[in-house]
Amino acid sequence: MSARGARLGLRTAALGYLFLLLAAPVGLIFFRTFEHGLGPAWEAVTTPEAQHAFYLTFVMIAIAVPLNTVFGVTCALMLVRSRMPGKALVNALIDMPFAVSPVVIGLALVLVYGNDGWFGGWLTERGIQVIFSVPGMILATIFVSLPFVVREVVPVLREIGTEQEQAASTLGASGWQTFRRVTLPSIRWGLTYGIVLATARSLGEFGAISVVSGKLSGQTETATLFVEQRFHQFDLTGAYAASMVLAVMALTTLLAMNFLNRRRTH
């Protein structure tokens, strides 16, 4: 009897905590967005400025995620399959982006790629502007989303072992054929999961981008920066509406993660 009571008490405590911290605030955003009807919210996210911000966010994802995917798979193969010296060091360094504050990431990029930065002179001579411009924002997005694919692919590669790859190469398959026909199909779910995580992280990046972008409205403003800018302009409808679009994307990501998690474990 008391065991059941305890169970119920714990359940109530856990769900209550989750409700107050997660569900209620996020639910309220949906309510606030449509408080004055669909019209104002729709208008707020379809202004040229808002459209450009979302477009820019997609550009970030479209460049950073594929690059990190190729890097991630290459790096994972290197970490698991090769015997390169310095592997342990690389393994430790890969996680750095998880542990570094986004603002520090932004500062770090400015110090290297900014006008007064290490490579600034060289870049300026060639007329390439990285900081306060889109390339810098892409670098920031790559930085923050870098570890995800590696971290998801490494354990899968370890688990599948090398037998099938060996068989393929014994039968005369080239390295690339072995990779495409044998390795890639076996890592596909882990790889996809890593890609989903990297996409979510890129979509939401704020701190590093706010340092390197210069926040030029309509030029270097991504969706997350647009939310902040609308808030500071006292346009709460705009801020809520853009937030809601981002929240819907986050929920879609959750669904994808859920689906992939089931795939991965079967």
Binding site: L10, R11, A14, L15, Y17, L18, L21, L22, P25, V26, L28, I29, R32, T74, L77, M78, R81, S82, V90, L93, M96, F98, A99, V100, S101, P102, V103, V104, G106, L107, A108, L111, V112, Y113, G117, W118, L139, F143, L146, Q166, S169, S174, G175, F179, L203, G204, F206, G207, S210, V211, V227, F231, Y240, S243, L246, A247, A250, L254, L255, M257
Partner: protein
């Protein structure tokens, strides 16, 4: 005899490119931060770090992160327990919602919390621009860490041990304290460490809800951001180095702690 892994042609080349990529985007920029902080010598670095406003911001970040980590140890374990051992309708949905703070852009997280617990909130609780807001935002973004660390361990835990303890007359609390908790401790600590590392550098979820009041609600990352904006780059770099050092220590701690004993035979 033992076969070597088949050589994926170009692995060495790929490894070289991967290293260059990691260096250009992560390592060189982080080195530039350290270099910048020491540009005018150690005394300038020390003065920048021990400046009163910097110290207040660092202290707030560390103390708030410590509190948040401790709260997570309790609530995270509780939620994990309820998700594994309890059964109720909608458990699957709750389980996938746990990852929401990870998928949701941090600026949106801050805005949602401000909408509910800010000056215009519907429930009359207003914690905006106070230290409580710092804790609240950090609790939101760190929610998944302990839950996701403890859940798999709890799933594998043999319930027979608990039944044996119960048949010997142990109460619920004793079973939890003497049987369950010791098995979960490594996972809880790993999750807590990740939550702490994440909190120390957090930026996006804090900028809107804390008001960034120096000596009161200004955390380290917001302080760094302010220093960058006002062109005090050495000050920004110096405090960044302290944050980098803290996260490196935490990362090292996790990897050391997860190496011996913690890795059971599977």
């Amino acid at each position: 005899m033992r076969f070597r892994a088949p050589r994926l042609s170009g692995t060495a080349l790929g490894g070289g490119i991967a290293m260059a990529y990691l260096s250009l985007i992560v390592l060189i920029p982080l080195a530039a931060v350290v270099d910048k902080s020491l540009e005018d010598g150690f005394d300038t670095f020390w003065a920048a770090v021990t400046n009163e406003q910097a110290l207040a911001a660092l202290k707030l970040s560390l103390v708030a992160s410590g509190i948040v980590a401790a709260i997570n140890a309790v609530t995270g374990t509780l939620i994990a327990w309820v998700l594994v051992r309890d059964d109720f309708r909608g458990k699957g949905v709750v389980n996938s919602l746990i990852d929401l703070p990870f998928a949701l852009p941090t600026i949106v997280a801050g805005l949602t919390l401000l909408a509910l617990y800010g000056p215009r909130g519907p429930v009359g609780i207003d914690v905006a621009y106070t230290k409580v807001a710092v804790i609240l935002a950090l609790l939101f973004v760190t929610l998944p860490f302990v839950v996701r660390a403890v859940q798999p361990v709890l799933m594998e835990l043999d319930e027979e041990m608990e039944e044996a303890a119960a048949s010997l007359g142990a109460g619920n609390l004793t079973i939890f304290r003497r049987v369950i908790l010791p098995n979960l401790t490594p996972a809880i600590l790993a999750g807590v460490a990740l939550a702490f590392a994440r909190s120390v550098g957090e930026f996006g979820s804090l900028v809107l809800i804390t008001g960034n009041l120096p000596f009161d609600t200004e955390v380290a990352s917001v302080f760094i951001f302010g220093q960058i904006e006002s062109d005090r780059v050495i000050g920004a770099a110096a405090v960044s180095v302290v944050l980098l050092a803290v996260s490196l220590v935490v990362l090292l701690g996790i990897s050391v702690a997860s190496r011996p004993g913690a890795r059971h035979e599977r």
